[in-house]
Symmetry: C2
DNA sequence: CCTCAATGATTGACAAGCTCCACGATATCG
DNA sequence: CGATATCGTGGAGCTTGTCAATCATTGAGG
């Protein structure tokens, strides 16, 4: 790795930072950051809600981080913790009607914001990028 | 962005974290982390050394972070700060002979470590990934 | 049925990173 | 010369990432 511009790790870190910053800026109007948004998307995506443990696993976060994120989303009225019917330990995090609406609006803004750093790639190239990254992420479990 | 697994920002963040962690583990034997390694690579790559401002710009870091990274590398004897011949404000960070050797060893380890998360992509796919990311990073200035 | 290890959520502590702001030294432009 | 900008540096504050400990609950095995 003689050239830093050829280092996949460096490029990933840099690109990730750029996109995260742009997305955060786009979501700021909703008072959200990418981390909250990710939780909101997952919570709204599962009809019955998703356990915090599953959230942590899917997001690659420590469970203790999920606690706080869900706290803040719940304070904002975007998600709620429901008891599980089968396990009294787990709390299912589900999007409220308000959360669903905010998620749709935020999704549009986030997608638009990402195009600032990602706009230099056409739609097909972006799809290729997502496909490659998906494989990397999935293969990690 | 109905599915989080289709969100470029999320995928980038996740993949970046995976690779960074693997690289850090690989570099730990040298007492380095990716951030130090990046500085070392750039410092060793420029014959006359590189100003800290340029380092910050190239790495996308705040100049104040570069100060500390260079401090630690200099303490380890891997780089040194040289006065600029044309501007007494700037300090040119250049790799020492030891730094050059460590950089070569670290490069091999880092590349190998990255293959743990990136190994699921063949060589051509990794090249495609790097090319796409390069364009995103470069287009940001 | 009872014990015991494992699990889910939570809290608190701590290191690592990032961002901003301010300052001293120097450079540059008018 | 004087105003303004730049470079390196230090420090404050916030966000993240990681870890250990705790409590309630579950599930398995005796």
């Amino acid at each position: 790795m003689t050239e830093l511009t050829d280092d996949a790790g460096f490029l990933l870190s840099r690109a990730s930072g750029l996109v995260a910053r742009a997305t955060n800026a786009a979501l700021a109007e909703h008072g959200l950051r990418v981390r909250h948004y990710s939780v909101l998307v997952l919570a709204c995506g599962a009809a019955e809600g998703m356990s915090q443990r599953d959230l942590a696993c899917r997001l690659g976060l420590d469970p203790s981080q999920v606690v706080q994120l869900v706290d803040e989303l719940a304070d904002a009225g975007l998600v709620e913790r429901r008891p599980s019917a089968t396990d009294r330990r787990t709390k299912l995090v589900a999007g409220t009607p308000l959360g669903q609406r905010v998620r749709r609006q935020a999704a549009r803004r986030a997608t638009r914001g990402q195009q600032r750093p990602l706009g230099c790639l056409n739609e097909e190239e972006q799809a290729t990028l997502r496909a490659l990254l998906s494989r990397v992420v999935d293969s990690a479990g």
